[in-house]
């Protein structure tokens, strides 16, 4: 009997496979190899940078579901990111910065508090969701900024729980049962915290990305895209817009809170309001938006690629602040502008350039290149 062509798709199950072609399977294999090998090769600066990239990628996947797939523009994403970070301190273990006593901390294991943070974020997102039933586009974006300032007011005002502007220290460890990723010990060989945290973060990135991809390729995700493209028609064919919008707000906020919990535990280890709410929160939200625009709106991989570019850029400028003469670390140093200000300008430029030149981001660029070579030497 003749051998079947590998390109011939003979059933729907085959057609639905995420890694259907041999190229894609090779890519997956390459990523898996990188996942294992990178921590053994890179130094700790780059590993902790990549862990931060992974955490932002998770948060950006959440925002991409909301903004990219469902078309609901939100600048309040940092608020839910912050909810997760504070949950890390409250439920995973922490202490108040300074002298304040009486803040209640629980020492729950991570497999309890991290999902709990996600659930709390999702619940808060579901509360905000109904606003999107009445508003859309730029109006929703402006209302969602309000969330950041309400959040600021809560975090600064609710001192007995948040310790105000001084914030909370996070002592939670990324440990699942006896395996502590910050203190990894496999068969007698010890690994640095950065190595273990890389594996933990990127393992979770893979899980979240797979779940998000599954959602967008099945019924609930198609409903989101239908609402984005044409909401009246979506309702007439039987999509419930309220359920879809509230669901996607809950989902995206829950994912943001999980990412925020990891951010509090792994990246900053001290959570203060200024990263998540108020103007600082707006900067964080815009970072997320820059990530999905640079990477590729309405793609799951775009959130990861965008995070790789945007977060790396941000960390690298603050690392090499001494080499770049026009940048300064603190307001009293010599230099034209602060690193943070410079980064904001760069993000703004990136957003503008990508929206003008490649509105669907780096992923679309990649697709264009691969399509070209698939058809090579023909131009179509």
């Amino acid at each position: 009997m003749a051998r079947q062509s590998p390109y011939l798709i003979t059933n729907y199950s085959k057609d639905l496979r995420l890694f259907g072609s041999s190229w894609r399977r090779a890519g997956l294999l390459l990523l898996a190899a990188l996942f294992i090998v990178l921590p053994l090769q890179l130094d700790d600066f780059w590993l902790s940078l990549l862990a931060t990239v992974g955490i932002y990628a998770i948060g950006a996947i959440g925002l991409n579901l909301l903004t990219g797939y469902a078309g609901q523009v939100s600048l309040g994403h940092a608020f839910f990111f912050g909810v997760g970070a504070y949950c890390a301190a409250w439920f995973g273990g922490g202490s108040a910065v300074g002298t304040r006593d009486g803040v209640l901390f629980l020492d729950l294991p991570m497999f309890v508090w991290l999902p709990l943070a996600g659930l709390i974020g999702a619940a808060l997102g579901a509360l905000v969701g109904p606003v999107a039933l009445r508003l859309s586009g730029q109006y929703l974006a402006i209302v969602s900024i309000g969330l950041l300032f309400v959040g600021d007011w809560i975090l600064l005002g609710w001192v007995s729980a948040t310790n105000g502007s001084q914030g909370l220290r996070v002592t939670a460890e990324p440990a699942i049962g006896p395996v502590n990723f910050s203190d990894l010990n496999i068969f007698g060989s010890a690994f640095s915290p950065e190595q273990g945290e890389f594996w933990f973060v990127w393992g979770l990135v893979a899980v979240v990305a797979l779940m998000a991809k599954n959602i967008v390729r099945s019924r609930p995700g198609r409903a989101l895209q239908a609402i984005r493209d044409r909401d009246v028609a979506a309702e007439i064919i039987g999509v419930n817009p309220a359920r879809a919008k509230i669901g996607v707000f809950a989902l995206s906020s829950g994912i943001a809170a999980v990412a925020g919990g990891m951010y509090g535990m792994i990246v900053v280890r001290t959570v203060t309001p200024e990263t998540f709410t108020g103007f600082g929160g707006l900067v964080t939200s815009i970072t997320f938006i820059a990530i999905i625009i640079v990477g590729g709106i309405s793609t799951i991989s775009g959130a990861i690629v965008g995070s790789l570019v945007v977060v790396t850029l941000r960390q690298v400028t603050s690392r090499f602040v001494d080499v770049l003469p026009f940048l300064k670390q603190t307001p009293n140093d010599d230099g034209l502008m602060l690193v943070g200000q410079f980064n904001l300008i760069v993000f703004g430029l990136l957003i503008i350039i990508f929206l003008l030149a490649e509105p669907l981001g780096l992923v679309a660029l990649w697709r264009r290149v691969t399509t070209y070579f698939k058809a090579w030497p023909f131009s179509y």
Binding site: Y12, N214, R222, Q225, D229
Partner: protein, 266 residues
């Protein structure tokens, strides 16, 4: 056939009964005391000059608008007061005058969305994929592919529909309606803006759908050749008032219809 006298009467009672509906927007009277029946398996056409209220009738039947008076019953169930998506679940499907497709999605996804109300996967089972989500995707995909075959859309299966030609998009929209497994299909100007060849294609697909699927259709259309050739019965409306109902020949001869289109001879 002797055991089912109820089924017998069910076959002879009309599928859709519109009984004295009136629709106002503020001071504008869009529909005035309109009544008509649509029989099972019938292709019922609604004609009338621009602004006569044809699309408003559709919007009442699939509950986008709520008429202030009157009732609309599908198989005996009252539609007035429902949500649009509830009428979708009851089997009312419609196409739009100026297309209601999801432009960034491909044909398969657009047609799969037609099956949204027949599927159950939610956020959780969707995220898990293995199990219900995958099973539903595969079983519904088979139905979708049959429709793609019927409407000869296979060549464009994975193209974003927003990039396809207008005539194809109209056909995709018809396909999405069929994917909903409708009992009542509302076609809002299915051949508007098409050239002769596309019009003939669409007419052929409508006839093919009629013969291969048991579906009742109401069609709003300005192209009188299409209406007179395809429709079993025609209703003419003007200024929200029914002028005449009957076979295409009867309506063509009706003096009020001629007056509405050509003006009164004075």
């Amino acid at each position: 056939m002797s055991d089912s006298s109820t089924a017998g009467t069910k076959m002879t009672t009309p599928l859709l009964v519109v009984d004295g509906i009136s629709l106002r927007f503020g001071g504008v009277q869009a529909i005035t005391d309109m009544s008509f029946d649509v029989n099972r398996g019938e292709l019922f056409a609604v004609i009338g000059p621009n602004g006569a209220g044809k699309t408003s009738i559709f919007n009442c039947i699939n509950a986008v608008y709520k008429p202030q008076q009157g009732s609309i019953r599908l198989d005996g169930t009252e539609i007035v007061g429902m949500h649009p998506r509830e009428t979708a679940e009851m089997g009312v499907a419609r196409t739009f005058q100026n297309l209601g497709l999801f432009g960034n999605l491909d044909i398969v996804d657009n047609l799969m969305l037609g099956r949204h109300h027949l599927m159950k996967t939610g956020f959780l089972s969707g995220a898990v994929w293995w199990g219900r989500a995958k099973h539903e995707e595969i079983s519904n995909r088979a139905t979708v592919e049959k429709i793609i075959d019927l409407l000869e859309l296979g060549n464009f299966r994975r193209k974003p529909v927003g990039m396809l030609p207008y005539g194809i998009q109209k056909r995709i929209e018809l396909g999405r309606c069929l994917a909903m497994e409708p009992r009542l299909l509302l076609l809002d100007e299915p051949v508007a803006g098409m050239n002769l060849e596309e019009t003939e294609d669409m007419a052929r697909y409508i006839l093919e759908v009629r013969s291969s699927l048991d579906v009742t259709m109401i069609m709003v259309e300005h192209d009188m050749h299409v209406v007179m050739d395809l429709a079993d019965r025609v209703m003419a409306v003007d200024f929200g008032i029914r002028l005449a109902t009957g076979t295409p020949e009867e309506v063509q001869q009706d003096q009020r219809v001629i007056d509405a289109y050509l003006g009164k001879a004075s």
